[in-house]
Symmetry: C2
Subunit: 437 residues, 2 copies
């Protein structure tokens, strides 16, 4: 009796997985009670650079030696990208092999098809590494908190952006400066769009939403907004007001039980558990009706933390396979996926931080406050800073406003009207404030 594993991909994560299977194989086999063996590693090209070089003989450019090979029980997909990963995974499932994947983009887009193929073939698809790297949040959602109705789930799901925001906040750096530093430190890619515009985190949020609420929303149906327009000025105003700015992933149900899923920069009160999550760390805070708030934090990326989660899935499948069972827990913890869509962003209610740039002359605040009142938006706090050259009529001066909870649609309309005012000299900066969570 042994469990044999085949790997598809040997980039950063794949190398970490191969390394653990080889170097920690004895330890893991001792824990299992039987041998766990890496049989083959499928790669695109022998000449590709690999962060860790596997023992010779393991590499192959023929994926067919792994997919559908009856000697290989567990196929680990760590190639990334949509194709051929999707085709390979479906083939493996249809051949009766279990699959482990770290591919959040693929699951967010084609999860339904993949989970259904697994169920039809009575095999499992595990994906602990697809969300929050080394943090075992998938298991926590599927099993640890399985008896809870999830009130809301908040996450810091992207280490690159959290590192940038931490540097901007601690050193008062501009966004471009902090990004350049993150790239130098290896926390951001040469083309950072996917991270900084929120798409990476949004894919993870889609999967967490499925675990929390049994619905796998489409990327197009959720509001996604990155951090590239944040300024050190806003971060410092936020601090002055007792808040920290994070790129926040949020899934919840509102009072009418409607699903709400959104990803955008948000101001969190300084004493929120997520506000102290700094640097490249990820964190997920789950609030359940029975358990209350549970926070998990740790490395959200990196070769070895991600490999740690892939290995946990491999070990789980080895144990399941050994006891002859399959699909003990459905992939998302729910017997089936609902078709429920998140409500449109226009219908979301939240509080707002607004930084207007206005002319420093009498009557400006009255005009602005009048527009907000006309849209049923009530103001919680107004801070009018003195213009740089005091006395200079019409000098551009920041006007910072915190609102009470308002409807996004009302806010959008109010801001459009405010933008038409002569006394408003620049586009208004808007950051949502989450202080009710």
């Amino acid at each position: 009796m042994q469990t044999t594993v085949g790997l598809l991909g040997c980039g950063n994560v794949g190398s970490g997985v191969a390394r653990m299977l080889v170097e920690d194989g004895d330890f893991i086999s001792r824990k299992l009670g039987w041998p766990l063996r890496l049989a083959k590693i499928g790669i695109g090209d022998f000449s590709d650079p690999r962060p860790w070089e596997p023992p010779s003989g393991l590499l192959t450019t023929n994926a067919g030696e792994i997919i559908g090979n009856p000697d290989i029980r567990v196929v680990v997909e760590v190639m990334g990208g949509l194709e051929p990963a999707r085709t390979f995974i479906l083939k493996a499932l249809n051949s009766g092999q279990h699959v482990v994947t770290a591919n959040k983009a693929l699951l967010a887009r084609h999860g339904r098809e993949i989970f259904e193929a697994a169920a039809a073939n009575k095999v499992e698809v595990l994906f602990e590494a697809a969300v929050a790297g080394g943090i075992p949040i998938i298991r926590t959602m599927k099993e640890g908190l399985s008896a809870n109705r999830i009130r809301h789930l908040l996450g810091i799901l992207n280490g690159t952006t959290n590192y940038i925001l931490t540097r901007m906040s601690r050193e008062a750096l501009g966004f471009q400066e902090a990004l350049a530093e993150a790239q130098k430190a290896g926390y951001a890619e040469a083309d950072p769009t996917f991270d900084i515009e929120g798409y990476d985190a949004a894919h993870k949020l889609i999967l967490l939403t499925a675990l929390a609420y049994g619905s796998l929303p489409a990327l197009e149906d959720i509001h996604v907004e990155g951090i590239s327009r944040l300024t050190p000025e806003d971060i410092s105003f936020a601090a002055e007001l007792g808040y920290v700015i994070k790129l926040l992933a949020l899934a919840s149900r509102d009072e009418q039980d409607r699903l709400e899923v959104r990803l955008h920069p948000a101001m969190l009160p300084r004493d929120n558990l997520l506000s102290n999550i700094n640097g490249a760390l990820n964190a997920v805070l789950v609030s359940g009706h029975a358990v209350g708030d549970i926070l998990q934090t740790g490395a959200g990326a990196g070769m070895m933390p991600t490999a740690s989660s892939v290995l946990a899935d491999i070990i789980e499948l080895a144990r399941a396979d050994h006891s002859g069972v399959s699909q003990r827990v459905p992939p998302l913890g729910w017997p089936s996926l609902s078709a429920e869509k998140p409500k449109p962003m226009a219908e979301v209610r939240t509080a707002y931080y607004l930084r207007l740039t206005v002319a420093d002359r009498p009557g400006v605040l009255a005009a602005i406050a009048g527009i907000f009142a006309g849209h049923s938006i009530s103001l919680a706090q107004v801070i009018q800073k003195q213009a740089a050259q005091s006395g200079a009529e019409s000098a551009a001066t920041p006007l910072v406003i915190l609102t009470h909870t308002a409807l996004e649609r009302d806010m959008t309309q109010a801001l459009a009207e405010i933008g038409q005012l002569d006394s408003v000299l620049a586009p208004t900066r808007v950051i949502r404030v989450e202080d009710k969570l």
Copy 2:
């Protein structure tokens, strides 16, 4: 097809479990895909007070209606205490019933016997609620981090003591004052000994040690020290030096791979993830060779958070039972328990904070430093405070010392010698400093 549950005990936790099974039964059954049903609740006496009153007909004083009843697949023991809980659990396992228990004291003492009985009968014993209440740390250790060699595990495992320490630190309260407040707030029992002297946390630490290292140490073999002798003075000196005092549970392996398990107040650097865990929260920080540091925090006690964990175990057993499998994962994540014992406290190496009360006269520090040097203990920092009435020869004055890492045996001997000095006017306060973790 349905899963039927019997409950033993209807105190605080038992009432929470009964309430969830009744009120959330539909939700959970929908998640499972088949009905989950509470059949019976065994109690000692109908006249006992119950925090939540179950529907009539469920209560029975005859445990025999639950234990060994072939219609009941899962027996939930939430009575507490060693007997009759131990006998009931063994009977249930020997009758082929799965068991869920929240009984940390029982498992810490009789775990081996209970886990062996489960294996012999091919049934499962789950105990998520026994450690850190609602935090799913048992699953994290058994499954989420299963591929990791655990470098160390640190925990704040008792909410009562963490609440008291937080109050002492924030309000400069004395221990007795903070304890009285905790009792008033419902965080401490009328007889708080079990919590404040560390035994409750030690039982949880024993179980976490078993999950991390496959050895279930005896309570007698680990160093257990509570918080009742801590003073606001030491907490304030700690803060001055950049540290926070926590009742720390620690399991690790030293450089010689020897197991180290201890529970005592410790000074942690302010930026340690555990240092921000305040109030009645619990937290566990696990450091794995691949994953790095993972922290989980949440409510460590309370009726509903604890019930949340019991329900997670019930759901896991319902799923396992449904797919006809048993003991997929061994109770501790290891195929068998080793007989390894933790090394004696005298052989532990750590840094120390010492607060001596000395006469304010020349030569005192020289004598003390000489004794430390004679025991190969090197000093990292010495702070000599001015006596209250300056100039008064021999006035008692605090001398605060931080040492580098030293052997506990050497420290004990040095302190015994120092205690003999005429110039040392009161027993020296000792708090271990953990700044290498």
